[in-house]
């Protein structure tokens, strides 16, 4: 269930980067379930975590996260 209007392409970009949830979690310093809940739009990450995820996936943060119209 979506918590807000914030959408994300985390799963697609993570798969493109060839990373598992656990590997991405280790890169940004959170637990795997945090990555899982962000991907499923259950949990809205902080700006810091959003920027860390974007950096880890080598993508602009506005590509990773977007607002639904």
């Amino acid at each position: 269930m979506a918590e807000s209007e914030l959408g994300n392409r985390l799963k697609a970009l993570r798969s493109d980067a060839g990373l598992t949830q656990a590997e991405l979690a280790a890169l940004v310093g959170v637990s795997r379930k945090t990555i899982n809940t962000v991907e499923n739009e259950v949990f809205t990450p902080s700006t810091t975590l959003a920027l860390k995820l974007a950096r880890a996936l080598n993508a602009p943060v506005e590509t990773l996260f977007f607002l639904r119209a």
């Binding site: 280790a26 959170v30 637990s31 795997r32 499923n40 990450p45």
Partner: protein, 147 residues
């Protein structure tokens, strides 16, 4: 000590153990303290109390050890206290406060009609808050985890 594969899951399981132990420990301790039991039921309640202790003690000791290990292990600390866990902790604390308020709110009007000894009532009110906090945190922490 060997590294934990999934410290968040270990913490969640320890919290379930603590919550279950407290749920058994709390009513049996209050019943024994009030002396409201007959001789026939005392043994049964003592057994429940012992089982509750066996569940709660490893839970609380394990959680302490886990937190101490997290103080020395930066990656474990990051995993245990990340954004989601912090949010879950705050939510669980709110649940705990509501439980304390509810328990106190029910016992106060009841005390008008029933003569209740203060010590077990206060213990019960406080422990109900702890139990609600621990149990709700463990439930919130299941979100997004597979096991």
């Amino acid at each position: 000590m060997p590294p934990l594969k999934n410290p968040a899951r270990t913490r969640r399981r320890l919290m379930f153990s603590l919550a279950l132990g407290l749920a058994m420990l709390m009513p049996s301790a209050i019943l024994l303290q009030t002396g409201a039991l007959g001789a026939n039921h005392t043994t049964t309640v003592l057994i429940i109390l012992a089982v509750g202790l066996l569940l709660a003690a490893p839970g609380s000791i394990g959680l302490t050890v886990l937190q101490l290990r997290a103080l020395r292990d930066r990656s474990m600390n990051q995993e245990l206290n990340d954004e989601l866990s912090t949010r879950n902790s705050v939510r669980a604390m709110a649940v705990g406060y509501v439980a304390i308020a509810a328990a106190a709110g029910y016992t106060l009007p009841l005390s008008v009609f029933i003569d209740m000894p203060l010590a077990p009532v206060l213990t019960g009110v406080l422990l109900s808050g702890v139990l609600a906090h621990v149990l709700s945190f463990a439930i919130f922490e299941r979100q997004g985890d597979d096991g």
